[in-house]
């Protein structure tokens, strides 16, 4: 009887270890897959909660200010008249202006040789002469 109980306990302990190992493997696999999707989909580049990418105080205040003005959405149940169209065009222009106000966000000078402190090909050639 004792021997039987001992065997049962040993088997239970082994099953517990197997369960622990399997759960760890499953957790690691699913986390790995999730991270791969997160990276390959490009979501990582939009995630501003990453260390070093957190918005600064000025930006947070700016965002809060913008959130206070309600976003315009064209209401489908309205009667489309010239006043409504004027409002639509005015709000649309505001959004376009807001994009244009962001001066050259992907301009080439940010990664230029001068900006990175690398001598330009011409200046290097000049020195060589």
């Amino acid at each position: 009887m004792r021997e039987k109980n001992k065997k049962k306990i040993e088997k239970g302990a082994r099953n517990l270890v197997v369960l622990g190992v399997l759960s760890t493997v499953v957790a690691l696999t699913t986390t790995g897959v999730a991270l791969a999707i997160y990276h390959n989909s490009g979501d990582i580049y939009l995630d501003r909660s990453r260390p070093g990418f957190l918005p600064d105080e000025e930006e947070i205040q700016q965002d809060e200010g913008e959130r206070e003005d309600d976003d315009y959405v064209f209401q489908k149940d309205t009667v489309l008249d010239t006043e409504k169209m004027d409002e639509f065009l005015e709000k649309l222009q505001e959004e376009i202006d807001a994009i244009n106000a962001y001066e050259k966000p992907f301009g080439e000078e940010v990664l230029s040789d001068e900006r990175l402190g690398i001598p330009t090909t011409e200046s290097a050639a000049g020195k060589n002469e």
């Binding site: 169209m85 994009i99 402190g117």
Partner: protein, 168 residues
């Protein structure tokens, strides 16, 4: 046979020749300022993330708050405006290009930041030139979107003029 070997040589040279030629001074500057260059690139990554979230949000806002609801309104009332439908697909398509090109550029920039510029300055510069090209693609997408949005505005204005004429 000669022609085939010429094509093979051409392809091989195109694949192996680095994009950006680098002088000794440039290589020395990259090795000397490696840490500073990488810090600058990390700053660029942070600024890009901010710009991407802001501008991407605005594009989404225009598409979902203006373009799609107006077209749906017109469809529900059996008003045919093929030019506005065309604008919607153009805006949607350009937004998709912007999103994909940005991811492509950021992946390149990430690889560039993780490279050891002290070890191989030439390869680092070569990668930098490629990343610049990818960045300019994102810039071009924004310019294209600006054109498409202005065109859309003109089309809506035309529709409004039609309403005005009907009123008179």
């Amino acid at each position: 046979m000669k022609r085939i070997s010429f094509i093979v040589c051409l392809v091989v040279s195109l694949v192996t020749v680095p994009v950006g030629a680098i002088s000794k001074e440039q290589a020395a500057a990259i090795i000397d300022h490696c840490v500073a260059i990488k810090d600058d690139l990390r700053d660029v990554q942070r600024a890009d993330a901010r710009a991407r979230v802001y501008i991407g949000g605005k594009y989404e806002m225009i598409l979902n708050g203006f373009v799609k609801p107006l077209n749906l309104y017109l469809v529900e009332r059996n008003i045919s405006r093929t030019d506005l439908v065309e604008s919607q697909s153009l805006i949607s398509e350009t937004r998709g290009e912007f999103v994909n090109d940005y991811v492509d550029y950021q992946q390149g920039l990430e690889q560039l930041v993780s490279m050891d510029c002290k070890e191989d300055a030439e390869q680092f510069y070569d990668k930098l030139v490629r990343v610049r090209k990818k960045r300019s693609k994102v810039d071009q997408d924004m310019k294209k979107m600006d054109t498409v949005l202005n065109e859309y505005k003109v089309r809506v204005l035309k529709m409004k003029e039609g309403l005005d004429a009907r009123k008179e």
